[in-house]
Symmetry: C2
């Protein structure tokens, strides 16, 4: 198919597709002549994935490029699947260069240990959690360790579902973990809003 057809198929403007080609987000089509190239289903899929990561996942195009690099690159050996995926996710989530201060990071490490989770103490998501927790503190939301325990219990259930659905094939696994993490996040966020509605409505009916 030609670029204009790819545009029609994916709903993305031709000029934008050219831009994606330039930026390396979209692999070039098979050049037929100086004025025509052939694109196939893989291009449609790719464009849709880029749009999904951008619009639903909220990632920047630069980040998307890195994500694509990892999930399309073969040669990840079986043992390091999750490791590779996590490394990608770390870079995908990188927001500000400045980390949380040492104190709040230590609080997270302590909490993890007390909670009984087996996590590498240098895991970069510890820093993310520390920053997010700290922000809740400043806003006086009363997010204490007890409430964190209760959240963690439910999140562990979610993670169990996540892990149980990872395919055997190592290459598919990296793709699944990376995309499953990035794209399911918004699903869970929306579910949380809906569940809050349901729960509070139920409480209202039962309560006063």
């Amino acid at each position: 198919m030609r670029l204009a057809e790819l545009s029609a198929e994916s709903g993305v403007a031709v000029a934008t597709l050219k831009y994606y080609l330039r930026e390396g987000l979209l692999h070039p089509g098979r050049t037929l002549s100086r004025t025509s190239a052939d694109y196939d289903e893989s291009h449609v899929d790719r464009v849709r994935l880029v749009r999904a990561l951008s619009e639903v996942g909220g990632l920047s195009l630069a980040t998307i490029e890195q994500v694509l690099e990892v999930i399309t690159e073969p040669g990840t050996d079986r043992l390091h699947v999750l490791e590779a995926a996590q490394r990608t996710l770390v870079r995908a989530g990188a927001r500000t260069p400045d980390g949380a201060d040492g104190g709040s990071t230590q609080r997270v490490r302590d909490w993890i240990e007390r909670h009984g989770w087996e996590i590498d103490p240098m895991d970069p998501f510890i820093d993310d959690l520390a920053r997010a927790w700290e922000a809740c503190d400043h806003a006086a939301l009363g997010l204490d360790e007890d409430r964190m325990d209760r959240y963690a219990e439910h999140v562990e259930g979610i993670a169990t579902v996540d892990v149980s659905t990872v395919p055997e094939d190592p290459e598919a696994a990296v793709r699944h973990v990376v995309l499953g993490t990035l794209l399911v996040d918004p699903v869970l966020v929306a579910l949380r809003r809906l569940a809050q509605q349901h729960v509070s409505r139920r409480a209202e009916r039962v309560g006063p």
Copy 2:
């Protein structure tokens, strides 16, 4: 305190604080003379909140302005606390103007009904969920209704914790719900990453 002190206290550049003042994100200090104004703790808190919503929550300054408007505005009556909060959150989460197509929205409505949640069929988060779910479909992540049920079960637990921690006072409640939703999202996202690590490591030790 003077603007320079507020800057030192909050770690935000003076020029940026001036910009926030111009944009109405920061309430003006008490003007002492043509060349000095007095800022207090409320300003420090406000700046930290803006930074938290921006850096941790990933909101745009325009959105933050709307959020601040709602949580600082008094006069929300007791009954409409959650409604007001949800309306704010809808606007806070608004990304792209185009919604999901009718089919995938209907699937979400059907799923909600089968799942037994009591949700307004016109709730705007249904559209968010539809879009996010659709994106997972395109990526072939195998997110079927069964897996959605399992996610929902755990998310309901999270929402129960959320609702149980909302304060009685209606004004405090709006603030708590809005900020608690926006700022705790990143906490849960980070927790999910860590929990995946923990769960998969545990599975590895038990399994092959």
